[in-house]
């Protein structure tokens, strides 16, 4: 008889999606999965905050104005996190859009929780 291995079920809720990537939340694991640059990476609260900080810290204007003949690659490395991104300028813009949208949605989720559950008797 053939053995069928079933992958453990992970329930994802989509937080935000663009044409370049998506962010999902796992309520069970209290974390987020980011589908970007060809991989799905897991981020807990601390790492997600660090990722946002790292992405926002990239000086896009400086990269665009840079006329040196070096590759326009930026390495987004987060301490104590298993993942790192090596991104070109377009990908930097794309991940920025993804992260910004994600945090707007998380903020909206907080407002909804307040209004629907926390502030009603």
């Amino acid at each position: 008889m053939q053995n069928v291995v079933i992958a453990p079920s992970v329930e994802f809720v989509e937080v935000f999606q663009t044409s370049n990537g998506a962010v999902f939340q796992s309520d069970k694991e209290n974390c987020w999965y980011i589908d970007f640059a060809g991989k799905l990476a897991r981020f807990d609260y601390r790492s997600l905050m660090k990722l946002r900080k790292a992405v926002y810290a990239i000086d896009i204007e400086m990269i665009l104005m840079n006329s040196e003949k070096t590759a326009d690659l930026e390495i987004v490395f987060i301490c104590a996190c298993d993942h790192c991104y090596v991104l070109n300028t377009l990908q930097i813009l794309a991940i920025r859009e993804l992260i910004e949208g994600t945090f707007v949605m998380l903020e909206l989720n907080r407002i909804l929780h307040d209004r629907v559950y926390r502030l009603t008797a």
Binding site: D27, N30, Y45, L106, E107, R110
Partner: protein, 176 residues
């Protein structure tokens, strides 16, 4: 969908950033006071030097208070880098003028944080900040009173020696 970000941290990103900025400001004040203590000591104003040592300790204590609050609320407290401390002063009076200016700057910065807290209804942080506002009343009073001594005693003759002797006696006892 669970509200994970709120479960993890009470503070909003903006308030957390402002509090981290304040941690840096307090650290800078502490170092600035230490520089003033050093200047006063090396110019023979030993009582004033003691006064500034005490002030430096207090600012450090303020810094730690905010640092612990940010951590306790689930935020990320950042150990600050302190640079550009003024080490030289043109006169004894200038030291106290700088001290008052630093205290005013701290008060204004705290007011700015509170204003932002009111905007996003972060009453928990406002309650935390109230202790600092009371503290700033004392800090500004002491710094202003020290400068006042330069007016009432005068710097002529043994004036500066008298001022130095009285700086350490300045107290603020208002119970209000």
């Amino acid at each position: 969908m669970k509200d994970i970000t709120r479960v993890q941290c009470l503070l909003s990103t903006e308030i957390e950033a402002l509090l981290n900025q304040q941690i840096k400001k307090e650290a800078q004040s502490s170092s600035a006071y230490l520089a003033m203590a050093s200047w006063c000591d090396s110019h023979g104003f030993d009582y004033s030097s003691d006064y500034f040592f005490k002030q430096s300790e207090e600012e450090r204590m303020h810094q730690m208070k905010i640092f612990k609050y940010v951590l306790d609320m689930g935020g990320n407290a950042i150990s600050p880098e302190v640079t550009n401390i003024q080490l030289e002063f043109n006169s004894f009076k200038e030291v106290f003028e700088e001290a008052l200016e630093a205290e005013i700057s701290v008060t204004q910065s705290l007011k700015n944080i509170a204003a932002n807290c009111y905007k996003e209804q972060d009453f928990v942080t406002i309650e935390f900040l109230n202790w600092f506002f009371k503290e700033q009343r004392e800090e500004e009073y002491k710094a202003r009173r020290a400068l006042e001594l330069f007016e009432v005693i005068g710097e002529e003759g043994t004036g500066r020696w008298e001022i130095d002797k009285h700086v350490n006696d300045i107290e603020y006892n208002s119970e209000a």
